[in-house]
Amino acid sequence: MANKAAIGQDALIEKGWWKSHQWLVWRRLSQLSVLALFLLGPWFGVWVIKGNIASSLILDTVPLTDPYLLIQVLLTRHLPETTAVLGAVIVLGFYLLVGGRVYCSWVCPVNMATDFAAWLRRRFGITSAARLSRNTRFWLLGLTLAMALVTGTLAWELINPVTAVYRGLVFGMGLGWTVLLAIFLFDFVIANRGWCGHLCPVGAFYSLIGRVSAVRVSAIRREQCNDCMDCFIVCPEPQVIRPALKGSDETSPVIRDGACTNCGRCVDICSKDVFQFGLRNSGKMNSQVANHQREVLS
């Protein structure tokens, strides 16, 4: 551990490149494909999905609406058409299944900029960091909802960088790139994982869904952990790992914290294959099954 060349070196040697990067690759593919699907229409006239991340229509039939936005609309005391409500229910159901902040790590384009900033920080050993509470995002989430209630308008949407960047990519960027650049620089220079991990109220909202969502990462073979710390270093929300990885035998190895984005970097980076995707409530059982399996195999 002490003379380790680089983060993820162990995994690379033990598991090979693909096994130590596969979730990262899938994730980037997911982010880019969702964007590509939105761009197929305006660029090539193929309308698989129309609209943008705020609300859209798949094949002119299935509506999708961001539930966080819909809640704000309701708070402005506007009663939306059923299309938007149905769309929000579908999206909510999806993220309840696959994990709330899957939105952040598998769909949101800002994630690519902030991941890049975090990677650069690790690469150049930049440790300067403004001290921010990770709970700030929940205050901001409350603030955005209060703003909708008080002003009667979607005030947050006037500055929301997440939707602004997506809308920019699909409908024309304008000065939207400056927003993305600002977030990148904030994360790169000022605060490690500053935007996605501390401030973004969109992520805060989806983390609330993540508290009950079905698919979770589980430290299923935690007794194999060799304390290399790689997972803590690459994880965008390292505080979520400890209770699952370092818990006692009675505690579940499942990462239950809603802040976990299900990005799967810990799964990739662990040379001992401690982590794997599983279901929220099957953690304990899986752990035993896994132990059993290993005994059988060895």
């Binding site: 609406t65 609309v73 402005t76 921010l132 205050w139 939707t163 409908f171 000065l175």
Partner: protein, 287 residues
Amino acid sequence: MSVKQSGSSRGVTRRQFLAGTVGAACAAGLAGLGLVSYTRQASALPAYAIRPPGALAESDFLGACVRCGLCVRDCPYDTLRLAKPGEDVALGTPYFIAREIPCEMCEDIPCVVACPTGALDHSLTDIDKSRMGLAVVVDQETCIAFRGLRCEVCFNVCPARGKAITLEMQHNARSGKHARFIPIVHSTDCTGCGKCERACILEEAAIKIFPLHLAKGIQGEHYRLGWQEKDKAGQSLVTPDVEHKYNLPEGMGYDYEGQGLIIEEQAAETPYPDDPLETLNRGKDRI
């Protein structure tokens, strides 16, 4: 970085927790203050930006529109666009600029149908009833119709031709013998589609679409128009109607229909007939 860094089980003292919480709350509050004032400023819709048909009143619209752009996508004429960062219009909201691409007033109103939230009111099914704005002849100095030249382009391109814009014939005082055909906009029929502004032949349009609140006056609640009240009641509501009488010189009449003073036939002759006896016989009743 080491495992020890995060310390024992709960490495946060009460003081740290309070400081952290208060810090986060203050940061959020500060952001809120900034956002409130920014909201005011950013929600003001510039006059050139026209909302799509069926858009709710601006303050409601900004609460209902999720900025998804489905209306933009379903507009067959690429009229609509979403406000980009750096533009004056509230970020991400749909609008159009009449002078660039006006609304073609599709009968099936696809933009309204596409709206998932009802920010574009789905109860609007007749495009003629939409009120995106109101055409206003803003500059009578450059509009060539006011100079006595024949143009009438706005009148002719209007989808509600002859209703939303009519031509009023006036006397051309400059030449003294020609007419002027002045375009008059009627808010009863104008949808604010902007085709007149698009078509105006001037370098800068003399007829422009304005948001209704800028274009329309509103008369006081208490205001009553006497002739309307009279029609409603069937009689004058003030003092009994006095029959109007002209007080004109002897032998003269008045015709309202543009002819003004007329000299009555009999009076056209001299008051002193050829036969002086007649004058004498008329006697006192004349004076």
